[in-house]
């Protein structure tokens, strides 16, 4: 891994010194803490680091005008971040010439990759990036319970939500200028941090990631109340894969799952 990090640092420094990018988004590790860091000088590249606990999804920064304004830029990208970049690209949020990835993962460093090359790297080294087994086990365990037990479980969890929207801020997929929860004419989702408003928010937040969630886990990691958001995301990703073969973030241009259809889609639940 250390060789990989060295190569990544060298590439970051090279890109900056050549002027190919103006900014590199990466992580630095201090003790047990992982911070995102923004590097604009080649000399600072030594500070870059990466390990498996760097869960914050750097692609989420790409919607911020102060970051975008400094394009072209490079992002230290774990496989999940790479997938986020491809999702953003297929939703026309970032363009090929704006962003490059310094692709890095458990199998080593993949080099400086343009958006067009990310898919091939992912398919070669991480072709079936699925949620961790432990998470799937928890999903299965909860799914096996009765509807009432599930309702009770989620009621207890959702009641903790303070509606700080840290989950939204951490998610690269949540890039709307005006989030649906902030719409007030009409107010679909109550903004009060309780009851139905919390339920609607959690469910809609998850559903808006249908066919788009790359499973990076940044939302859950960001939640100060410790809500198990990844249970929702994983369940939805699992359903989307099993029913529609959805594998978001492997293609540069992909039709959105919600917003496309096939005559062969399952209709057995419709009477």
């Amino acid at each position: 891994m250390s060789g990989a990090i060295g190569a990544m640092r060298a590439d970051a420094a090279k890109l900056l010194s050549e002027g190919a990018v103006k900014l590199v988004l990466g992580y630095c590790v201090r003790g047990n803490e992982r911070y995102p860091c923004f590097i604009s000088e080649a000399a600072q590249a030594e500070a870059l680091d990466f390990d498996q606990s760097c869960r914050q999804n750097l692609a989420a920064y790409l919607r911020k005008p102060e970051v975008r304004g400094r394009a072209p830029l490079a992002v230290v990208s774990s496989p999940a971040v790479c997938r986020s970049l491809l999702v953003l690209s297929s939703e026309s949020q970032i363009r090929e010439n704006e962003v490059r990835a310094l692709a890095i993962g458990p199998k080593g460093y993949g080099g400086i990759l343009g958006l067009g090359a990310l898919g091939a790297w992912l398919k070669a080294d991480y072709p079936d990036l699925v949620p961790e087994q432990a998470l799937l086990d928890r999903v299965a365990e909860l799914s096996a319970k009765t509807a009432q037990e599930r309702a009770k479980f989620w009621m207890k969890e959702f009641e903790k939500c303070t509606r700080c929207y840290a989950c939204r801020a951490a998610c690269p997929g949540c890039y709307c200028e005006r989030c649906i929860v902030e719409k007030n004419m009409p107010q679909w989702i109550s903004s009060a941090a309780a009851g139905h408003g919390n339920y609607a928010w959690e469910v809609i937040r998850a559903f808006h990631q249908a066919g788009r969630c790359t499973g990076c886990g940044a939302c859950e990691a960001a939640c100060p109340q410790g809500l198990p958001l990844m249970l929702l995301n994983a369940r939805l990703s699992q359903d989307a894969f099993e029913e529609f073969g959805s594998r978001p973030g492997y293609e540069l241009e992909a039709k959105p799952l919600i917003g496309s259809w096939s005559a062969e889609d399952d209709g057995s639940f419709i009477r």
Partner: protein, 672 residues
């Protein structure tokens, strides 16, 4: 300028003043719903300034009552609780419009079909009626005045495809007073029909009935032919399409050319297989596809002409007295404005090389229907004598195999190509007429001869002309060393395998859409079915329209069709186009989607989801023309108002007029 009717107000400018009008419908509603009680209940609703019930709201006095209330109470909205809006919404909305209320500020609560007729218990029915009225009052409070979308109509039709369907549509539209631009991709109009020898069930000579139509189309002052041309791009929408047409280089100036023929008589390249003759005859590198071509002006086949490929020859330019040959000619793009489009892209025959058991396309004497047409045609490569392609001898036994590629979803197509039973009977008949001692054997699955005079025609082929009909499939055709084609099949009526030694085999290949038809459909926003045929808007009631407003279908591009069906549909498409041209402006229901461009982040979900291609990218620029950002936009002319875009928009930046988020939310909330 839009011309708006002058309404009392535009809706929300004033505090809501809503009138509720409850109809007894004689006893139909009144028997189960306590209408006076419902009126009293409605009067208590916020914003309701007037609540009445009456025996027959749709009667003249009933409508007068609404009119009067609108005028006197200065209503900003009205709810009529009566029958289904499918019944009388139009009635009440026009009454409202007459009284000066924007018609889209009136809604109906369906208390008859959805309430009094389906429930018998009076209290429950009245309670439900109250709910339905309350929901509609809440909706109307949030209704906006809407105005029919008016689109100016360019009274020109673009007809794509110059076969019989396209020609017929063009002639009918021109006869009805419209103008037509007829785009045909080959050098001549006429299509497949020009290649046929005779037509079923009358055995009319195909060219004799077609060529006068071709000439008529060419000489009509309101029809402009654009042959050797293809549609390149489409912009705009119903009423005002702007279509870019690629005019392919002909290398012959049609203005100067007199069609004398010196050039193609001198062209030294004589052995190019003629597409028109299904490869059985040949043409030159400068050619007219067939003698009766319209326009009768040659083109140069750039792929074969040595002057164009190697810069050697130039003979045609030397012999052309008019100097019409221009080797430097280039493709040109031309824009055409049209209010309506008729797609008549036609068909082609399925490539039977997928049938390995029939020789996989490798056997010279296994031919398709068009090749047989050309053999039988007096103007064909054999002058109308049936000769087999391999050695030019007269075939003494011809086997016709029906359903080659049709009704075979494993190797071919699942559908029935509809015309093959008939043309096979015709082929067998023509063959027997020409080769009296010959044997015509037809293998069929079923004979589908539904049509005027069709069954009789098939009977005639069998009984009068002695065609041998064998019900069964052919399992294999192979060429024996002596040149005979051995046809192995089964006679399923007798229950025996049988073998025929034939000299010629004619396959009735399935009809499939033309290559490139799908691309053309995409340009116009027209859907295709799984087989690539163009999708009509409704299989029963709108068989000529498409999902794209103002784009109509004619002929075999929609489904396999024979000539009379193609012509009938072409005339229907022409009537549709003329219907559009009857008024200078189009009026459309104003239920359309709108994008809030301030909020849109251009995730393109709506653009992907829109079935009409109405949602498109829109570039926001500053005054200097600098691109600020890209958002989505809905084209009013194309949007049909389904609202799918609004539902896929995560930030709800798209909304639907008439069924807006606010309206629906208020309706749901009113059900508490």
């Amino acid at each position: 300028m839009r011309r708006f009717p002058k309404y009392v107000n535009a809706g929300r400018a004033l505090m809501a003043r809503i009138g509720v009008f409850i109809c007894h419908c004689g006893e139909n509603i009144g028997r189960t719903v306590d209408c006076p009680a419902a009126a009293a209940e409605a009067a208590k609703l916020p914003g309701v300034v007037l609540s009445l019930d009456y025996k027959y709201m749709c009667s003249d006095p009933g409508q007068q009552m609404i009119n009067k209330a609108i005028a006197e109470k200065l209503l900003t909205g009205a709810v009529v609780a009566a029958c289904s809006p499918r019944m009388h919404e139009r009635t009440f909305r026009s009454a409202a419009a007459q009284a000066g209320l924007n018609p889209y500020l009136l809604e109906m609560a369906n208390v008859r079909e959805h309430c009094s007729w389906v429930h018998s218990e009076r209290a429950a029915a009245t309670a439900k009626a109250n709910d339905l009225i309350r929901v509609m009052v809440e909706k109307v409070r949030r209704n906006k005045a809407l105005f029919p979308i008016r689109v100016p109509v360019e009274p020109t039709a673009l007809v794509v495809g110059g076969g019989i369907a396209g020609i017929q549509a063009a002639l009918d539209i021109a006869a009805g007073g419209g103008k037509v631009v007829l785009v045909e991709r080959s050098p001549s109009i006429g299509g497949h029909m020009a290649r046929l020898s005779e037509t079923f069930p009358t055995l009319d000579c195909s060219q004799c009935i077609l060529t006068p139509r071709m000439v008529e189309a060419a000489s009509h002052p309101d029809i402009r032919l654009m042959t050797y041309s293809e549609v390149e791009a489409v912009e705009g929408f119903v009423g005002s399409f702007e279509v870019t047409v690629r005019r392919k280089a002909r290398y012959v100036d049609p203005e100067k050319c007199t069609g004398c023929g010196d050039c193609f008589n001198k062209c030294p390249l004589k052995k190019i297989p003629s597409e028109f003759d299904a490869g059985l005859g040949s043409r030159r590198a400068i050619y007219v596809p067939f003698p009766q071509a319209v326009p009768n002006k040659p083109v140069i086949d750039a792929a074969n002409c040595t002057m164009l490929t190697k810069g050697k020859c130039g003979l045609c330019a030397k012999v052309c007295a008019r100097g019409a040959i221009d080797y430097k000619d280039q493709d040109r793009l031309e824009k055409v404005k049209a209010g309506a489009v008729v797609l008549a892209a036609g068909f082609e025959l399925w490539d039977h090389s997928a049938y390995g058991e029939y020789g996989g396309g490798r056997l010279k004497d296994v031919i398709d229907g068009f090749a047989f047409e050309r053999l039988a045609s007096a103007s064909g490569p054999t002058g109308g004598e049936i000769r087999r392609p391999s050695d030019g001898s007269e075939p003494k036994t011809v086997v016709f195999i029906q359903c080659c590629g049709s009704r075979d979803d494993k190797k071919g197509k699942g559908y029935c190509s509809k015309i093959c039973c008939m043309y096979t009977a015709k082929h067998a008949m023509l063959y027997r007429h020409k080769v009296h001692d010959g044997r015509a054997v037809v293998f069929y699955m079923d004979v589908r001869a539904a049509g005027k005079g069709y069954e009789e025609f098939v009977r005639r082929a069998i009984e009068a002309d002695g065609a041998e009909y064998v019900r069964g499939r052919v399992s294999r055709v192979y060429r024996r060393r002596d040149g005979k084609l051995v046809v192995k099949g089964a006679d399923t009526l007798v229950g025996r395998p049988m073998t025929v030694e034939a000299d010629l085999v004619v396959l009735a290949d399935a009809m499939v859409p033309r290559r490139g038809a799908e691309k053309l459909a995409q340009l116009f926003g027209v859907g295709c079915d799984t087989d690539g045929f163009y999708s009509e808007a409704h299989p029963k009631l709108r068989p000529v329209e498409t999902a794209a407003a103002g784009v109509f279908l004619a002929g075999a591009c929609q489904a396999p069709k024979d000539i009379p069906d193609s012509v009938a549909q072409a005339s229907a498409a022409a009537a549709k186009a003329l219907g559009l041209f009857a008024k200078p402006e189009l009026e459309r229901e104003p239920v359309i989607a709108r994008v809030n461009k301030n909020l849109c982040v251009h995730c393109r979900a709506c653009i992907n989801a829109c079935p009409y291609g109405a949602a498109k990218d829109f570039e926001i620029k500053d005054r200097a023309g600098k691109l600020l950002r890209v958002v989505a936009e809905v084209n009013e002319g194309l949007c049909q108002g389904c609202g799918t875009c609004a539902a896929v928009c995560r930030s709800n930046s798209v909304d639907l007029d008439g069924f807006s988020d606010e309206q629906v939310c208020a309706q749901i909330a009113a059900l508490e």
